[in-house]
């Protein structure tokens, strides 16, 4: 009886191994660490597969975990491309020697701030940072709708705001840099300390706040705006607020990892993603991302950039200062 | 096959370990002849089981040799000694039925299925388990399990059979029956056997020879009759059966017992000196009456009816009370407590042990 069972188990294991073995690429393959949220990443990369026939294997990782994973694997990289995450993260990766340069012809048309001069990274969409607000719910509770960063400090919002965690999300870091650019570093930290009691939770992923907004877990969410815009477009009772003092933005980029096993497919992705066709895909697939090519207009449902008071910050400095700033946040804001 | 034990010592622990050194078997030497059933008899802790386990290979001797025939087998692992053992707890494999239990050892050898079947069937009949081959151990009674253990050992046709108190878990009636069966089987098969027990009646009834052990040493080896009637010391005498020891002395004038003149009608060949005379309960005769000086007398303290014998406790001046067994059908009237009784000894039952100065 025992023998039969052993044989059965051995056979099933063998079968499983065989099955998994045959899953290995017959066509060209590309392994991607994506900091773009899964749904959008899948939509975009599926179009890429359709256009080029290259199969994509994707793992979603917030920018923090993605960077750690890439650093941990640098001796033997398991992925080929880091797809998404604000550009300052890619600058850090470049400085740490984790990526390799590739200057794509199609990237020639991009403005200076959207690509690395040496080709180590290329941006492919941008997004402003704003608030998603359940205005009706707020009104029901007799609370005002915030219009500025300072408004968020109102004690009426105690425990009602969600934002991503600077410890794991590039979105949160972009927010901090925006605040620093707008108010100066020390004032920014004073602000964030004061904001802490109003924060319900710092989410692990950069897209957590919008999802929680959608199910009513939170009333105010701070995040890059595509998710909010999508909610509004779908008829959801949410509204998007761009803070009066200044609106930061991310230029989400991608880089090819040094030592990537599938180099040609990786280059193909860079070429494709900043092409006119791909940038149109951003609109077609309702990602609500802003394109980086000037000859592609923003899609439906996106407010024109001219109406938003964009605040830029030095990405290179942001890259250099990241560790110190995050540490400062953890100790001063989290450790209260 | 004969077995020879040569100055075997077994120590547990060591001087520098907590608890110190414990010598369980102390330079024991023994010879077991081919076809003999020798019993190791003694109280718990005397070393008999340790000795048996060393012979089986489950304990390693500290020094000394164990020989099967001419071969020294100290370093032979237990699974290669062909000395089948019947364990105290039977150690029947709970996951196998009776037939498979018995066949277990055979399956480890290069035998055909037919041979295994044949030998198993034969042994099943031999021990009287016919019809129970398919049962699970949990469905067997204690006696039946014991037979399975026996069958399992015997089917191996071993050169040596070892028994580790196999009957101690059975009730008295079953024990009696089983020991007769075991002895019959052993004699029929003629396998050299070593048997361990603390039950002296068991030892006496089935053994060719008995080895009495105490505290790791052999006290006396001999046939049962010899051990019973001619024990070499008090320990052996008291361990096998009941015994009383009365101080007596032989001088040129004759014997004195408890300070009074006495004619034992035995021990004539012994040199003068101080002795303890061993008296067994069945070797004492009581008769009512008699405060005559020439006879030994005592007061009956208690009488107990045991079925086959009447047991009396008689007070003797100058020594402990004496236990006396009188056959129940002796025709004698029961002596009630308080009666004065005349005490005489059966000469054949007396045994003299020299008293050390």
């Amino acid at each position: 009886m025992l023998k039969k069972r052993k044989v059965f188990i051995a056979l099933s294991l063998a079968l499983l191994f065989a099955l998994s073995g045959t899953m290995s690429a017959l066509a060209d393959e590309l392994v991607v660490y994506s900091s773009v949220d899964e749904e959008n990443a899948r939509n975009i990369l599926d179009e890429f597969s359709k256009a080029t026939g290259i199969q994509v294997n994707m793992v979603f990782l917030s920018s923090g975990p993605a960077m750690s994973r890439i650093e941990a694997e640098k001796a033997n990289p398991l992925a080929d491309v880091w797809f998404g995450a604000p550009s300052e993260n890619h600058i850090i990766a470049k400085d740490r020697g984790l990526t390799q340069p590739y200057i794509s012809k199609t990237a020639e048309d991009l403005a200076g701030g959207f690509k690395d001069p040496e080709g180590y990274w290329t941006a492919f969409y941008m997004n402003p940072l704003g608030f998603g607000v359940l205005a009706d719910e707020l009104k029901k509770d007799g609370k005002p709708v915030p219009a500025s960063w300072k408004d968020l400090l109102d004690p009426a919002y105690r425990g009602m705001i969600q934002m991503p965690s600077p410890q794991s999300s590039g979105t949160a870091y972009a927010m901090i840099m925006t605040l620093i650019e707008t108010f100066g570093e020390d004032d920014a930290f004073t602000y964030m300390k004061a904001l802490n009691p109003n924060i319900q939770t710092y989410t692990q992923s950069g897209t957590g706040p919008s999802k929680n907004l959608a199910i009513g877990e939170t009333q105010i969410a701070i995040q890059f705006t595509p998710a909010f815009l999508k909610l509004v477009d779908e008829g959801f009772p949410a509204s998007v607020v761009f803070p009066a003092e200044g609106v930061g933005y991310e230029a989400a980029a991608m880089s090819i990892l040094k030592g990537a096993k599938n180099l040609e497919p990786a280059k193909a992705l860079v070429d494709w993603i900043v092409s006119k066709d791909a940038q149109q895909v951003l609109n077609e697939k309702k990602t609500y991302f802003f394109p980086v090519r000037t000859d592609v207009s923003a899609g439906k449902g996106l407010p024109p950039l001219s109406e938003i008071k964009l605040v830029d910050y030095d990405r290179i400095r942001a890259a250099q200062e990241k560790k110190r700033i995050i540490d400062r946040w953890v100790t001063e804001v989290l450790g209260q | 096959m004969n077995v020879r034990i040569d100055s075997l010592i077994k120590d547990f622990g060591s001087f520098d370990e907590p608890g110190g050194l414990f010598r369980a078997v102390d330079a024991v030497s023994l010879e077991v002849n081919d076809g003999e059933l020798v019993t190791l008899l003694g109280p718990s802790g005397c070393g008999k089981t340790t000795l048996l386990r060393m012979i089986a290979g489950f304990e390693d001797p500290t020094s000394g040799g164990i020989f099967f025939g001419e071969h020294r087998i100290n370093d032979v692992p237990p699974n290669k000694r062909n000395a089948a053992m019947v364990f105290q707890s039977y150690a029947i494999f709970p996951h196998l039925n009776v037939r498979e239990n018995i066949a277990f050892g055979l399956r480890l050898r290069d035998l055909t299925e037919g041979e295994i079947c044949e030998r198993t069937e034969k042994v099943v009949d031999l021990v009287g388990l016919g019809g129970l081959e398919g049962r699970q151990p949990s469905q067997l009674s204690g006696g039946q399990q014991q037979r399975v253990a026996l069958a399992r050992a015997v089917v191996m046709e071993p050169s040596l059979l070892l028994f580790d108190e196999p009957l101690s878990n059975l009730d008295a009636k079953l024990r009696e029956q089983m020991r007769i069966d075991i002895r019959k089987l052993q004699q029929r098969l003629g396998i050299t056997s070593i048997y361990v027990t603390h039950d002296q009646i068991e030892a006496m009834s089935i053994s060719d020879r008995v080895v009495v052990m105490n505290r790791g040493k052999i006290e006396q080896t001999g046939v049962p009759r010899e051990l019973y009637s001619r024990p070499v010391n008090r320990f052996v005498a008291s361990f096998i059966g009941k015994a009383a020891f009365l101080p007596c002395e032989k001088s040129a004038e004759g014997w004195t017992l408890l300070g009074r003149p006495w004619d034992p009608e035995a021990g004539g060949s012994l040199p003068p000196g101080k002795y303890s005379v061993m008296v067994r309960p069945e070797g004492v005769r009581l008769a009512p009456g008699g405060k005559e000086q020439r006879h030994l007398s005592g007061t009956v303290l208690r009488s107990t009816y045991l079925g086959s014998v009447l047991e009396y406790e008689v007070e003797l001046p100058g020594t402990d009370p004496l236990t006396v067994h009188t056959p129940g059908l002796s025709g004698q009237e029961t002596l009630s407590p308080g009666t004065e009784a005349e005490i005489t000894f059966i000469p054949e039952g007396l045994h003299f042990l020299p008293e050390k100065e």
Binding site: K211, Q336 | N79, L108, S141
Partner: protein
Amino acid sequence: MGAFSKGRREIRLLARDPLLALLIALLFLSLALFVGYPLISVLVKSLQSEEGGFSLANYGRFFTFRYLRSSLWNSLTAGFFTAACSVVIGYTAAFTMTRTSIPCKKALHLLFILPIISPPFTSALSILMLFGANGLITRGLLGIRNYNIYGFRGVLLSQVFTFAPVAYLTLRGVLESLNPTLEDAAMNVGAGRMQTFTKVTLPLSLPGLASAFLVVLIESLADFGNPLVLAGSRFPMLSTQAYLEITGSFNLPLGAALAVVLLIPSITSFAIQRYYLQKRQYTTVTGKPTASSSKLVSRGARRCLFTFAAGFSGFVLLFYGTIFTGAFTKVWGYDFSPTIAHFTYAFSVGAGTIRDTLIVALCATPVSGLLGMLIAFLVVRTSFPGKGIMEFTSILNFAVPGTVIGIGYILAFNRPPLMLMGTLAVLVLNFVFRYIPVGIQSGIAVLRQIDPSIEEAAQNLGADRITTFRKVTLPIIAPAFFSGLVFAFVRAMTAISAAIFLVSANWNLLTVQILNQVGSGRLGVAAAFSVILVVIVAAAMAVIARLVPGRTGGMAAIRIQED
């Protein structure tokens, strides 16, 4: 001198059985490589500065940075309260099941242990759905708006729900082996019910209670999933901070240091539990669960206990019902129209993950079970130099939080000579050695119950040690072996704390997938994955229960009837 001569004797004995000696050597090597090496790597890394030189700065941070001290304090506080509540609930439940005759015992038992077969943070998920700002109970039922479940209360609630069943199982075993005749004896000489309970039952249960307390404490400290979801903004905890330092800030040395600090209370509790308490267990000699005497519990008490039991099971049903509902409704809290969209999405992104998880669990479980039995056999039946070390090392993983092990594996196997990161092997190895202690524990317990003369009988009849193990020991301990397998499989399927460090593009695990979905706010999808996971585990357990005759729910007591 004494130790050496004993060692030499043991080696001599081993030399006679070369196969055995080889086996022991291999085991030592594996344990050193896959248990010792990662742990030492963590320790070494924690003593490095970011540049690589020796430094105590990481530990120094505990004194300078408040948030680290808070994390430690929070973890300990949550741990103690969780342990206390779990033990109370578990003991009451165990008492109800073993000392009263209430109806539906089997169903209640199954419900009590249901939380064990799901990922540890499932409760966090349902708590969010029930008690969150838009929770069904908080807003829907009680009309409380914006109730903040994050923080201490959320963590406590989810951990108690997750670990009270563990305490229940342990304490049930304790109460089952306490001979109720003792209680009868007390009442016989005049003690009242409450007196009997306080003077007999409770004192005899005390070592078991302390033991259960410590076990839950260790589990709570190591718990990663629940705090990750529910700790919120102002209740940092050590296990999650260690994770965040490593994956977020890529500060390996600091993460390692936090892991080491997490290790200290865990190992201390473990040491106390094993070496002090286990010696004082008042279990009776017979291992059999004895029938309960219902005279100890009065009618009224029985009713109360039944209500309690029903209440707790009600909670379990509520939590699981929530997950189930969440998986099948469109948008929790807003739109309860039924849908299978979440499942469709789950299968589209997660089919590979489901397959991966099954492969890992199916590979790791039998290996873990067999190795566990083997080590148990060696520990109980043989003696060789270094046996104590082998026993200790193999159970060490019990005390070490998953986070620490995960970090250790990253550090140890991310560079030559063993580059295992990203492979199936690293996941399987991690699970095998993590859950070996379970197999060892149950193996030791069962082996100790087997009369050693059974194995001697086999040897006496000609079997060598390995054959004895194969043909006699293994079949007898099979039921315990299979229950150990079940446990290992369940754990492998529901593990998160170490797994989260070891997944890769090639091999992903369901639990990580669920957490990702929660983190991204897709509660419906997370619920769908959870349902899939629980169904797989339940199915596997049912299959194993079918294949194995006899009880798999407890230790098989090997007893031969005696007249």
